[in-house]
């Protein structure tokens, strides 16, 4: 059992037992934090090996793509010697503004080139010089060495098909015919999509292995025990790389000492009802569900599960349940509050401000757990009304439970309208944990039917 597996580049971590695996040669991944099983090949034609690991760090560089239609042009990353030239132009941010790492690489490269060939005239075009580490000192140093920095706007610079460069600004129009060294665009590594699939973790819309989520700072993924650093996180993953590594290794050291389930209650899949449709696997924001090949049914990994109940709400066969869960017996005004947002705000507002029994407050793990049938059943009593309070977009601990909750409520409302039933009996609103005053406001307006 290794403490950590590196997919991609490994990182010096002397206190941890580790192994590096080429992501392309990873065959499958299963299990959960503290007990991942990876099958992989050391070389292409070799037999598959199986190993166990407590944690996984994905550290795959971003792909570099030349932003113009010319594969032969040199980039900031090329090592090729270009000392034969009289003058050279560096171009940064040609297609879009580059991440800070590109300024750092460009500045280092331009200084090195200048030191090696002091007589070359170098122009460095940029739209935005971005700072990390010692970039400001590098920038100063480069200027002292006589490198000409020219800031341009998107339309002021054009690289022509013959690799000449037109630069125009106010009344200046200059054509450069020198050799170009260009900053490449960073794109997700080709293998990331497959890694996301093998580990069943979320991808950002751009294809990197981390979604925008306040709970996922800085190198966590939705799946416990799987971390992403560097180019796997996105172009900004390079900016604080050293701190990210330190954070990750500390997280791993802590979880090696003690890994506890996040939730107290246990969720189980009824193997007689499960039809292996894989909807729960696809919907779980924490990659906590996988196929139990012995039982021929899905199973929930308890250490990976974060208790959002999205799987229960979406299982089309009704096969997933919480062990020992009792039926709810609310009546009248009922408010379902997400424990990560509305409930925190409500506690700050003060539970005692409500008159006893006036409103039933129910804490739910996530609005993604709401089930259509439960809402309809509740509304069956004419005096019953339901308010569901969830998180704001991109603030959901379970990635997009807020959207799932809202979608269910909208669907229910649509159905009620079609059946001439008052759809205001169910309401969905978003709150942040800081909106203590708004909770009181929402509740009183809702009671009066004005929310």
């Amino acid at each position: 059992m290794y403490d950590v597996i590196f997919l991609g580049e490994s990182i010096n971590s002397p206190l941890l037992s580790s192994l590096q695996i080429n992501p392309e040669l990873l065959v499958s991944a299963s299990g959960e934090i503290g007990d991942f099983k990876l099958r992989y090949r050391e070389e292409k034609d070799q037999d598959i090996k199986e190993i166990k690991a407590c944690n996984v760090i994905v550290n795959m560089d971003a792909e570099k793509e030349i932003p113009i239609d010319n594969e032969n042009i040199l980039t900031f990353y090329d090592q090729q010697d270009i000392s034969e030239e009289d003058s050279i132009i560096f171009i940064q941010d040609y297609d879009k503004i580059s991440p800070a790492i590109m300024s750092k690489i460009g500045l280092n490269k331009v200084i090195k080139l200048c030191e090696k060939n002091p007589d070359i005239q170098i122009y460095y075009f940029y739209r935005s010089m971005r700072f990390m580490d010692d970039n400001d000192q590098l920038f100063e140093k480069a200027r002292e060495k006589g490198i000409v920095f020219l800031k341009y706007e998107k339309d002021n610079l054009n690289i022509n098909e013959d690799n000449t460069v037109d630069y125009s600004r106010e009344d200046i129009n200059i054509k450069f015919t020198d050799n170009i060294i260009i900053a490449p665009d960073l794109k997700p590594s080709f293998g990331l999509e497959r890694i996301a699939r093998l580990f069943n973790i979320e991808k950002s819309p751009e294809g990197y292995l981390q979604t925008e989520n306040i709970y996922l700072q800085p190198t966590l993924t939705g799946k416990r025990g799987v971390y992403v650093i560097g180019g796997s996180r996105g172009p900004t993953g390079y900016t604080n790389f050293d701190q990210d590594v330190e954070f990750t290794l500390n997280e791993i050291k802590a979880n090696l000492e003690d890994i506890e389930p996040v939730v107290d209650d246990e969720r189980i899949v009824d193997d007689k009802k499960c039809i292996l449709c894989y909807n729960c696997y696809r919907i779980c924001p924490h990659g906590a569900i996988e196929e139990d090949e012995e039982l021929d049914a899905m199973k929930i990994n308890n250490l990976a599960c974060q208790g959002c109940n999205a799987c229960i709400s979406r299982c089309p066969a009704g096969a997933i349940s919480i062990v020992g869960e009792e039926e709810k017996t609310y009546q009248g005004l009922r408010v379902m509050m997400c424990e990560n947002s509305a409930e925190i705000a409500f506690e700050k507002y003060g539970r005692d401000k409500l008159e006893n029994g006036e409103i039933n407050i129910e804490t739910i793990p996530c609005t993604g757990s709401i089930k259509k049938d439960e809402i309809f059943r509740y509304l069956n009593e004419p005096e019953n009304k339901l308010l569901i309070l969830g998180c704001f977009e991109e603030s959901c601990k379970h990635i997009n439970g807020d959207k799932r909750g809202e979608q269910v409520v909208n669907e229910v409302k649509e159905t009620l309208k079609k059946l001439d039933i008052d759809d205001n009996r169910v309401t969905f609103k978003r709150l942040s944990p800081r909106m203590a005053e708004d909770v009181g406001n929402y509740l009183s307006r809702w009671k009066e039917g004005k929310l």
């Binding site: 039809i275 894989y278 909807n279 089309p316 259509k372 069956n380 059946l419």
Partner: protein, 224 residues
């Protein structure tokens, strides 16, 4: 799998309102339409609760019962419903059209209504998204088109495509639809078989499809 979609609630209610009944049995189907999230236990329960709410709102005394069997397209499972079907006035099936008719065949005196529209034979292409891949033409041509079916996936079912309406990889019928012929071309190119596409494909015989009337298959290993 067979992909289904639950009928609009207004249509279901309209259908039910045409019938006289005091008790209704909603029957789910636990295979294809459960996978396609249209007629499994979850949808059965959800529909039952909506209808309970609807009848209560209308002050109508209706009892709604539910059950879900593994497959409504096999008599052995349908037979297990005998008691419940007898105890209820009418039945609403959330199976595909095959399941509904199988219930009718077994329980010829009972009114059985369809709760789903049977959409197509398809695959899950993304979370909650299903797409048509086969029309069940009875004579598979996938070998000639490198695994992409022009019969099902080209809007015009062209065997020698593409047509002039293919633009930027999309179909003129609907820009949401991928041009099947672009997919076929790209696939052929990828596996180095572009030259095979030059070969002319004669018109398809539709005898094995619906043109020969309703179809029946016999597997003598089991039937004899």
């Amino acid at each position: 799998m067979i992909v289904g979609e639950q009928k609009d609630i207004e249509e279901i209610v309209e259908m039910l309102d045409r019938e006289e009944f005091k008790s209704l049995l909603i029957v789910g189907c636990g295979t294809c339409v459960t996978v396609s999230m249209a007629g499994g236990e979850r949808e059965v329960n959800s529909l039952a609760e909506v209808l309970r709410l609807y009848y209560k709102n209308k002050d109508k005394d209706v009892t709604i019962n539910t059950d879900t069997v593994k497959r409504q397209c096999d008599f052995e499972f349908v037979d297990k419903l005998e008691e419940e079907i007898n105890n209820n006035d009418i039945v609403l099936s959330l199976a595909c059209g095959v399941g509904v008719q199988h219930l009718v065949e077994r329980y010829p005196d009972k009114i059985v209504l369809p709760g789903l529209n049977t959409s197509f034979y398809g695959a899950n292409i993304d979370n909650g998204i299903m797409a048509e891949r086969c029309i069940g033409c009875g004579e598979c041509v996938l070998d000639k088109y490198f695994g992409i079916c022009p019969v099902a996936r080209c809007s015009k079912s062209l065997l020698n495509g593409p047509c002039g309406g293919s633009q930027d990889g999309k179909c003129e019928v609907d820009p949401e639809i991928d041009c099947a012929w672009e997919l076929i071309y790209n696939r052929a190119k990828r596996i180095g078989k572009l030259d095979e596409l030059i070969e002319y494909q004669p018109p398809k015989s539709w005898n094995s499809y619906r043109d020969g009337g309703p179809r029946k298959l016999t597997n003598e290993e089991y039937s004899s």
